[in-house]
């Protein structure tokens, strides 16, 4: 897998965040617009109805006197009409006459087109004194006592307070909605983090499988992710089967080749022609070395974990076999194995390691072979155990010991063997993250030390 740059929208988190974000902004935006529109409409209506009632009030107080002059039957009570530029104004126009106006207008005029009759109440906006933006209500009135005259009654109010209220409301609305959006967004993030946690645990679990710390993906998952882990596990099983089959085929091929090779080698021994004999023998032996090497390698299950393999029965089985194989030596074996010590790996691999080591020890020992296996106390990271096999033979010089691990290396060509034993022992041990070492034994011979992963229970 090639590493590619991290792009948020290629992640599930990114997609969920984008979808949730867009949706939240859309919904809150529409909601905000509707609320803001309703509020300003309400404020406007409220102002207009106030203007209307003031207009009615002014009209109601006005009358045309006997002197043909329009005057109020009593003064308007509202102080605002007397304070200059207060924002509250009234004005009464009559065509061809100077308009009557409230003191608050001072000497300014609210212009109104007198050529157009306005017997219906009408609202409009205009710029008034002191650059105030005014809402104006106006209506033409004919009094019964002067039915030939038309008076236009005008009430105007500054919209500043109204606009201010709308502005304050909008600001409040905006921040409230922003906070709501933020809350929704962070709750989405929290939900994603929480909901995607099982997916991350599947990933971690898969990584553990690859590293060999676990043999199967954990099925401790929500129901909707369970099929995924089951599929992955089925895939792992399938892979294992394929590997097993390949391994079996390699084994079968190698074994099938060995019988014809035996025939060729035996026949070569009988050949009169020295050159034929030599070529047949060396070539067949080379073929055999290759076969053995690759066969052993293919056989190593290697590196994984397992249900655990108990060590003691394997050692005892092998010791039984050794006693038969080396029966003329009358060897005795001693054990010192921790109770229920388990190897975390394949039984075949452990058998191969211990078999090679005990067989070596049996070849070189005089009488006694000591086998011990103990858990390593406070080993860092993975739990390990150490297996020690001592023989009372002649031992191997320190500078030659390491050579024994080389492929095809045999220090004594007289004793039969392929020279692959220790090489394979080290290879298996290292595949499991362990070690294989040779030291001098206190019993005089060689001590083999193997460190392998321990199955804890």
């Amino acid at each position: 897998m090639t590493a590619r740059p991290y792009r948020l929208f290629r992640t599930l988190t990114g997609r969920l965040l984008a979808a949730a974000g867009l949706w939240t902004i859309l919904v809150l935006g529409i909601g905000g617009f509707v609320l803001s529109y309703s509020f300003s409409a309400y404020v406007k209506e409220d102002t207009e109805s106030r203007l209307m009632s003031l207009l009615d009030n002014v009209i109601g107080l006005a009358e045309v006197g006997t002197d043909d002059v329009l005057h109020f039957t009593r003064p308007l009570s509202d102080q605002n009409f007397d304070t200059p530029y207060s924002g509250w104004y009234w004005q009464i126009n009559e065509k061809g006459q100077d308009p009557m106006r409230s003191r608050s207008l001072w000497d300014k005029d609210i212009s109104s087109d007198m050529d157009k009759a306005r017997f219906e109440l009408m609202f409009r906006s205009a710029v008034g004194p002191d650059e105030q933006i005014l809402t104006i209500a106006e209506r033409d009135i004919v009094f019964p006592e002067a039915s030939d005259r038309v008076f236009r009654f005008i009430i105007a109010a500054d919209t500043a307070t109204m606009r201010d209220a709308i502005y304050r409301f909008d600001r409040l609305l905006f921040w409230s909605l922003a906070i709501i959006a933020l809350a929704i967004f962070s709750s989405v993030i929290a939900q994603i983090t929480y909901a995607l946690k099982p997916i991350r645990s599947v990933r971690a679990s898969l990584a553990d499988v690859r590293k060999g710390l676990q043999s199967r993906v954990s099925d401790d998952l929500p129901d909707d992710l369970l099929p995924l882990s089951q599929e992955i596990n089925a895939l792992i099983d399938h892979n294992e089967k394929i590997i097993d089959r390949a391994r079996t085929h390699v084994g079968n091929l190698a074994h099938a080749l060995k019988t014809p090779l035996s025939v060729i080698l035996n026949h070569a021994q009988d050949s009169k022609d020295k050159k034929t004999r030599e070529i047949l023998t060396t070539q067949s032996e080379q073929m055999l070395t290759h076969i053995n090497h690759h066969l052993k390698r293919a056989r190593i299950a290697g590196g994984g974990t397992s249900q655990g393999v108990e060590i003691e029965p394997i050692i005892k089985g092998l010791v039984g076999a050794m006693k038969r194989l080396h029966s003329d030596k009358g060897l005795s074996f001693t054990y010192e194995i921790d109770k229920a010590l388990m190897f975390d790996g394949e039984s075949e691999d452990l058998t191969e390691i211990i078999g090679n080591l005990i067989d070596n020890a049996s070849k070189w020992a005089n009488k006694l072979i000591e086998i011990s296996a103990h858990k390593i106390m406070d080993s860092p990271r993975r739990a390990m155990f150490t297996l020690i096999i001592d023989d009372d033979g002649n031992g191997v010089d320190e500078d030659l010991r390491e050579q024994l691990f080389e492929r095809g290396r045999r220090l004594d060509e007289q004793v039969p063997g392929t020279g692959l034993g220790l090489n394979i022992v080290r290879e298996i041990a290292e595949l499991y993250g362990g070690q294989a070492l040779l030291k001098a034994s206190p019993t005089g011979g060689l001590r083999a030390i193997i460190i392998l992963p321990l199955k804890e229970h």
Binding site: A254, H255, A256, K258, T259, P260, L261, S262, V263, L265, N266, H267, Q269, S284, L288, N292, R299, G317, L318, G320, A321, R324, L325, S327, D328, S347, E348, T351, E352, I354, G355, N356, D359, P416
Partner: protein
């Protein structure tokens, strides 16, 4: 000494049979599991060379059947299977030794000799009776340091008697152990060979036990 060779590869079986015949054994052979089981079950072999992968019945099953029927002859497994768990399985089934293919014919012969020697209770490769010495490693016989020249049949007879020193061996037993199953047996020829051997030796160590057979015994 009579050996059974069980091997399904025809050429290899022939090579084994030839080598064993040359080394002075009476040899029977089988190419499949059924025949092998039958032969081992009915004939008194001194050792068996057994391949594990066989048609009809596999080697380990045959071996288990033989052992549970009480046959104690030593068995050398000859196989291409060389992992330690396979070796342990084979030895657990009742084998006495395990040799993997390809093998050195000399090594196979040496292991067979050792197996036969051990199964008859002889620890030393030199079999001795009085002044007579038989070296199993090179099939040489000497009396008081002087080599004794024997024909192939005479050697087979003396070899069997030396392995079973002190036991009374019937003529039938001798016939069964020095001839393979296809040989036209006549127990009278045994007497002829015994007499020839006696003439070649300075001291008489082959005693006739009337009505029972022969017993090899050095002078006390």
């Amino acid at each position: 000494m009579r050996i059974l060779i069980v091997e399904d590869d025809d050429t290899l079986r022939e090579q084994l049979v030839d080598s064993l015949l040359t080394s002075g054994y009476a040899v029977d052979s089988a190419g499949d599991g059924e025949e092998a089981h039958f032969l081992g079950d009915t004939e008194p072999y001194d050792a068996v060379v057994l391949d594990l992968g066989l048609p009809i019945m596999d080697g380990a099953s045959i071996l288990r059947k033989w052992r549970s029927a009480g046959h104690a002859f030593p068995v050398l497994i000859l196989t291409a299977r060389d992992t330690w768990s396979e070796k342990v399985d084979g030895l657990d089934a009742g084998a006495d030794d395990y040799l993997t293919k390809p093998f050195n014919m000399e090594e196979l012969l040496a292991r067979l000799r050792a197996l036969i020697r051990r199964s008859t209770g002889n620890a030393n490769p030199l079999l001795e009776c009085g002044e007579l010495v038989l070296d199993t490693r090179n099939s040489r016989v000497s009396e008081a340091g002087m080599p004794v020249k024997l024909t192939a049949q005479e050697f087979k007879l003396l070899d069997f008697l030396m392995h079973h020193k002190g036991e009374v061996i019937s003529r039938t037993t001798l016939t069964e152990h020095i001839y393979d199953q296809d040989f036209d047996r006549d127990s009278n020829t045994i007497e002829v060979f015994i007499n020839r051997i006696r003439k070649k030796l300075k001291t008489n160590i082959i005693h006739t036990v009337r009505g029972l057979g022969y017993r090899l015994e050095g002078e006390a």
